[in-house]
């Protein structure tokens, strides 16, 4: 399809560990159109982070063996936010947020001005001279988001970005993410182990099971994308459905 931003077919990934291959993903398909959001949910060890790292091109050939078709945007059109935010403790908020632009050689005045605006919009401009250790979890996550947004990516990849935050901060950041995706028309693939988060954020929800990682179900969830969805009947039904699929998947795997 012409609109496909991501097109993965029959993806098979194995880790190379001391000479032998340990399967991590089997027969994974994933399609994502431009401007769409997709969440990937599953228990630990189901390979959801591996899937994200494959998309981000982080593995070397020495680390993994990859089979199947992986079509995704070029590296410079994507941005990745890691579970523990991936901020460098030795750089200030500003330097951390500038890092992507610096590395990609795009640190001109216009981009800097854009970043100032992003930091202001995210409410962390006043912390620009602080180090990550001086910030709360939610503030650190905002810095990571600012760093990604500064790169104006077409596709944002997030690996359990909100898992270590308290409930209120998490909800505020979920709203923020929805808002950003709506405004920038950016596509999003978000990995999570939180059912509510998966249903709230992904117009497509991939449910995975471990041993080795494969996709149990792909749920269309077209009402996702606004914060009001959280209080609707359809939302609860979807959550329940995913819970059942996950439970069945875990029972089968055991």
């Amino acid at each position: 399809m012409a609109n496909d931003l991501v097109n993965i077919e029959k993806l098979q990934v194995s880790y190379r560990k001391s000479g032998s291959l340990v399967p991590a993903l089997e027969n994974v398909d994933l399609y994502l159109e431009q401007g769409q959001t997709c969440t990937v949910i599953g228990p630990s060890g189901c390979g959801k982070s591996t899937l994200l790292f494959i998309l981000a091109g982080l593995f070397t050939d020495a680390e993994v063996e990859v089979r199947g078709r992986v079509l995704c945007p070029e590296k410079h059109r994507m941005a990745l936010i890691l579970q523990d935010y991936g901020l460098l403790p030795w750089k200030t908020v500003w330097d951390n947020a500038m890092l992507g632009l610096n590395i990609r050689g795009m640190s001109n005045e216009a981009k800097k001005g854009g970043l100032v605006k992003i930091l202001q919009d995210l409410g962390i401009w006043e912390f620009k001279d602080r180090f990550p250790a001086q910030l709360s979890g939610g503030q650190r996550q905002r810095v990571a988001i600012a760093r990604a947004l500064a790169l104006e990516p077409e596709l944002l990849l997030m690996d359990e970005p909100l898992s270590s935050l308290d409930a209120l901060t998490r909800e505020a950041l979920q709203e923020l993410l929805l808002d950003i995706c709506r405004k920038t028309k950016m596509s999003l693939i978000l990995v999570t182990h939180n059912i509510e988060e998966a249903v709230l954020l992904g117009r497509q929800v991939l449910v995975m099971s471990p041993g080795p990682g494969r996709i149990l179900n792909v749920l269309e969830n077209s009402s996702a994308g606004n914060i009001g969805y959280r209080n609707q009947q359809a939302y609860f039904e979807r959550c329940l459905k995913i819970r059942k699929i996950l439970e069945r998947g875990i029972n089968d795997a055991c």
Binding site: L80, L88, G100, R104, A133, R147
Partner: protein
């Protein structure tokens, strides 16, 4: 009452110094031996000696040890970081370092004196050798244990190998390198002292041993004070540098 922390730490050092001087006075009074003069005599000899040889000798010693530190760290840091990250390089050079590192470098003194002669370079070479291996091993081990998360983080931003060294590996290892340098400093000054006592005609080590051979005990202790001050000042400079270069380590 709010007291500026640097003033407070200065006054702490002052009190500590006073305590040590008093202790020294007490021991010298008890022993009543010419070989252990009181601190007043030693400090007097140090101050009068400043015009009379100590400053010149102190400059020689400082020059030797500072040049050695600069030379050895500038070589050891990049090489250590490379060894820590590039496994094929470490596989080849690792065993070599493993064999050389535990050798007390001072045993090379006769060899170095034979090869480099009695001038500055033999001393600088020997001190550099000591610090070089110390920093090399620290930098290599620190670079090996850099958290993967940081590497993935900058790789996902499109970092080249050079970017990874600049933005992640080097800053992640700097605090450990500073600690190692601080520990190495004591050994470096000890080696400096020994090299300066051999067929030397300048340096605090020479001044000290020369005073000793003339039984000029006050001057001998002036030499001890000079050597201690050299160590102290270098230590303070290292502390200051670390605070400048690694501010994220001193947030609280």
């Amino acid at each position: 009452m709010h007291v500026n922390p640097s003033v407070k730490s200065f006054s702490n050092y002052f009190i500590a110094a006073l305590f040590l001087i008093l202790l020294w006075q007490l021991i010298s009074l008890c022993m009543a031996d010419l070989a252990l003069p009181g601190p007043i005599h030693a400090i007097h000899a140090f101050i009068t000696g400043l015009d009379n040889g100590i400053s010149r000798n102190l400059l020689f010693s400082a020059f030797r040890v500072v040049i050695s530190i600069l030379l050895s760290t500038l070589l050891a840091i990049p090489l250590g970081l490379l060894l820590g990250r590039e496994t094929h390089l470490d596989r080849f050079l690792g065993p070599v370092i493993y064999l050389i590192y535990p050798i007390p470098k001072i045993v090379f003194l006769p060899v170095v004196l034979s090869l480099f002669g009695l001038g500055n370079w033999a001393k600088i070479f020997l001190i550099s050798l000591l610090i070089f291996f110390q920093i090399l091993v620290t930098a290599r081990d620190a670079a090996k244990s850099v958290e993967r998360l940081y590497l993935y983080s900058v790789k996902s931003l499109g970092a080249s190998r050079k970017d990874i060294y600049r933005h992640v590996i080097l800053p992640a290892c700097l605090p450990e390198i500073f600690t190692s340098l601080r520990i190495g400093l004591g050994a470096a000054i000890a080696v400096l002292f020994i090299t300066e006592t051999f067929a030397s005609s300048e340096g605090v080590g020479f001044y000290l041993m020369d005073s000793w051979s003339r039984m000029a005990y006050n001057e001998m202790y002036a030499g001890v004070i000079a050597m201690s001050l050299l160590g102290l000042v270098l230590y303070i400079i290292l502390d200051w540098l670390e605070k400048k270069i690694c501010p994220w380590k001193f947030l609280y």
